[in-house]
Symmetry: C2
Subunit: 711 residues, 2 copies
Amino acid sequence: MSTPQGNEFPFAGAEAPASERRDATSRLETPRAWVLWLGVATVSGLGSGIARADEGMWTFDNFPKDLVESRYGFAPSDEWLDTVRAASVRLGNGCSGSFVSKRGLILTNHHCVLRCVQQLSTADENLVQSGFYAEKMEDERRCPGLEVNRLESIEDVTERVAKATEGKKGETYVSAKNAVIADIESGCGSDETTRCDVVELYGGGLHHLYRYRRFQDVRLVFAPSVKAAFFGGDPDNFNFPRYAFDAAFLRPRVDDRAVRVKEYLRWSKKGVDDGDLVFVSGHPGRTNRLKTVAELEYLRDWGLPEVLLRLAEERGLLAQFSRASNENERIARGRLFGVENGLKALQGRRAALADDTFFGTLVEAETDFRGKLAGDDETLEAFREIAEAMERYRVIRTDLRYKERHRNYGSKLFGHALDLVRWKEEQQKPNADRLPEYAEAKKPALKAGITSAAPIYPSLEQTLLGHYFTRLRADLGPDDPFVKAVLGDEAPFALAERLVKETRLADPELREKWFDDPVSLEVDADPMLKLAKVISDAGREIRSVFEDEIESVVDRARAKIADARFRIYGTETYPDATFSLRLSFGTVKGFPDRGKEVPPFTRVRGLYERATGNEPFALSPRWKEKKDAIDLSTPMNFVTTNDIIGGNSGSPAINRDGRIVGLVFDGNIHSLGGDFGFDPRVNRAVSVDVRVIREGLHEVYGAKRLLKEIR
Amino acid sequence: MSTPQGNEFPFAGAEAPASERRDATSRLETPRAWVLWLGVATVSGLGSGIARADEGMWTFDNFPKDLVESRYGFAPSDEWLDTVRAASVRLGNGCSGSFVSKRGLILTNHHCVLRCVQQLSTADENLVQSGFYAEKMEDERRCPGLEVNRLESIEDVTERVAKATEGKKGETYVSAKNAVIADIESGCGSDETTRCDVVELYGGGLHHLYRYRRFQDVRLVFAPSVKAAFFGGDPDNFNFPRYAFDAAFLRPRVDDRAVRVKEYLRWSKKGVDDGDLVFVSGHPGRTNRLKTVAELEYLRDWGLPEVLLRLAEERGLLAQFSRASNENERIARGRLFGVENGLKALQGRRAALADDTFFGTLVEAETDFRGKLAGDDETLEAFREIAEAMERYRVIRTDLRYKERHRNYGSKLFGHALDLVRWKEEQQKPNADRLPEYAEAKKPALKAGITSAAPIYPSLEQTLLGHYFTRLRADLGPDDPFVKAVLGDEAPFALAERLVKETRLADPELREKWFDDPVSLEVDADPMLKLAKVISDAGREIRSVFEDEIESVVDRARAKIADARFRIYGTETYPDATFSLRLSFGTVKGFPDRGKEVPPFTRVRGLYERATGNEPFALSPRWKEKKDAIDLSTPMNFVTTNDIIGGNSGSPAINRDGRIVGLVFDGNIHSLGGDFGFDPRVNRAVSVDVRVIREGLHEVYGAKRLLKEIR
């Protein structure tokens, strides 16, 4: 499924959105802001084959109404835009959604609420399998920790950031930027009902402060069985044709009463046809479309292949672990899902970059842009600086990976150990001097993570940690002093077993005590904390090399390039994705695949034809039972040319009338290249058709209360 | 360790030497013959940074004596060359070796005889762990199935091959070539003591018939514990500094008496120093140095990354399988070793191709060569044809992989099923019309494989087969008709379990009966045979597409290019590796790594310093015990600039006097790029020093009889 930004997707911890990583070294690969130069190519007609596509993740205040009008004879009015904007929401776990009733009913994906469904399950009541439906409003159940945000205001803070970082270099630059952002965010009035994020747009050309209304009491209203929502499982993930009922409903409460909203989206009864114009409103997480060719080459040749190998190995390991017993299957499922999802997503990205035609277009676009920079030596020099930084990155990449970036390979205990060790050190510093992930504003989330009562499974912990130690030794070499410091004379899995057995970190109350009173944390008294300290120290060292010699260099060079773009194109184009609200436009349209044309719609009939009775192609019992009742010709899923990316999961697909026609839940395999550029030939967003949602709620789930509300 | 060509190295079955694959579709990636254009660059001074290196895998009849003379003031005489040639042997499992006494004692690597040592072990006597030494000649034990070949004569058959394939295209071309080669080989007098191979040299510029003396009764004389031979295990594999005692001795018998040989290599007492000239005689398996840039790009972007992902996933799976029990560890060890070895080897190759500097040199060399071809439109067109074939290859690669190329993912039962099904069909055809791997000349080896009594472990079979089915569905997609035909409605692992349980193929006698009397093979009566038929039929189809549209196109285009090279350069250069006898020259020399200079020698002291007591850094009990007796300053392993590749394992390293100074057992990680071109900055061969072999035999093993023989 389209990878949302949520931290319930474990792979994300590896090579994924900055928004959900605590590790600031990740920024280079997930910068907060870039201009999309393919977008530039589109708007100004520079590009070659890719130009004039339905491309763009546009901000609402800069939507290209004229362009859409000229192409489709329809332009959304300001009122249309205002309503859609106010009806759109962001889920704290990295998904999107929309209000669909005045009582605050939210439509989103099942996979965006899966974690909540798991948490609400008990030994006696497996809601993941059975699904959930609240017959009455008072039966709606609270999703632990799930937060919903609605954008309330945007403020330009470009000047403040520029002033604070002016003339600074290296580590000093990074610190100054972290400090001013921490300051702005904490001064905006963050509290129980307000959230503030500084968003970098146009590669630093603009800094905007986004202020959101927070809803922290969010109730689960409806979720189908995972068998219906994720029919086809990993094999179908990122693929089309598709037969998934990946829909769910939530509802925020304020003061224990359902919220009332003025703006919400109405339902379309007739749905869409092939060729119809469709808008998608949501929160695309990040794109790498501004990266220079040197950065993309690094990603293509080193970054992606090496992360893929790690994920592939972990998939083999977890799959085999899972087959040992039902219990193992259960405890490893979450991480295995994340690993498989990440593997597929990153494979798609690698394939896009390895595609000569696609990559050639990216190279051509950069060449065109550089052509326009003739005489602007400073900006041209910036390209060279980035290329040199990439050379340096290559040299330190393996150390950076093992010492700082992927520090625990999924072991929760070890993750807690690392956080506690760092927190003890960081909380003594002034807020502005801290590593950003330990800044005061992050404290509540940090504490929630460290003190989480989520179960910890020793066997899985040992396996993941032993695997990390094994890879560490293999890739850095047994003679590396860091490897010797970590392993001593112990074998990787023996060490992992001992640490998991001897540590006291499994106790959440103890972790809470240590977090609240860091002085009481005796690092040397616990073998896992002791090792975490060794790794944390080595991590700080390599991280500072990274920040000083690579991140800050790239950051500044990128800002120069972004300035030049901004000077040339201004807001004629759209900024890269930053998990902030965007609107895209496109049409319902099939695509070519392996020499054949894939039609844009699937129908319910196909679901039944495709069911084998075995996972992941087993029907849910309800759908099996109701086969005769349901209209088999109902459209099930469809594809459109909208430009989306991970984070758009749960976005409404909307027609000219501002009515919901579908629910975005994935992109096809080619959409993964959308990380780097939009390829209109093959890049498609995948939606659940509203008609099957209605039909399903009616015939399969008998969800009358819901149907009445969304009419 | 330097990957030999042997089929005991399971990874080889995936993406490895043609010499040990039965599957002819492998040829494109492991062509039998190419000119090395970097070699061309060297000799004629065309190249850039890489020129003038100690590069080349030279045939004995075309050794560049003058070049060596001019560079090192020494030229081997004809007598020197004759002796070394006659003292060199090839092991049937893909290794090299040399006669070191007149009674036919052969020095080779421990890893080249490991399978024999395993086979000679019993429940009571684990020779892999304890090592083996025959105190008396009559105690020497026969290695099952191990064969030794000594090159006796070479005949030029270029004309016959050219005549038979003249004017042919596509499948017809492939068939004609297969037919004439089968004919030449079977007409050369192959029997119990003679083996004949047609070897393609200079990319088809020459075809030579190599005739070998076969020794089929080969005895194990000495093998150390695997703990000493493979100290450092997978982490150290392909790395240096190194501390491995990877040596073993064999001895062929004829009529149950030790063979007597005229030519053998004497031992050097003083060994070598830094900077000394060293020759290596052996059988490099294959190189990809003639590949055009289009082919290398395919390998870099698609071929290697995808095989690597498969191997990484299998490593995770097998490592986890192995940890479940000691028994699991034992039964999976062989394949896990092969997977790890392959993973490391192919990662090194991918890294070499992804290195801009290295790849740039390859591109430059091709550009230079094409520059010389101005006006030769036919040859220039050949480059274009290959590039187009690679485009086509990309489209069918996934189908080819799952349907024909990696057919069993290591399941022995399923491998037997596929062979039996094909054999039944192929043996009815005239020899010349058969798939080459089922030609009459291959029958003995085929039968030996199918009827082998090697144990089959159901749990491992199910795991590997289930994994294959899982990958198949994931990569081809659940809607693919082939996937549906294979899986039906069953889940991958359920199908694997059922097949392994229900098949009768585990019985070697039954397999022998079926092989000898193919009519009695009722394919429909056994579920595994039935499925093998489905896969075999699909495999034939895609294979014929591959042969027709890719292999034959590339083959012919390559021959044109090779002709042009041969016209320009003749035998001024060396032919690419073809697992035929070659001689290389170089010097003892360290290399730079991660910013430091690695010295060329390690000493025994380092072995003891490095031992942790835990695998794979645990000392063998004998070495532990004898620490005080052994001279710790004895040189242990060393590196030289000789140009070697997999298949050179067990090669003697020889000084000017024709005496053995070392035993090649590996290349460093940078040597893996040697597949595509020789990089003198960093490519190194790794040898066991003869001085530690003598010291070890004397102090650690008390092998007096051996020491007396090799004095």
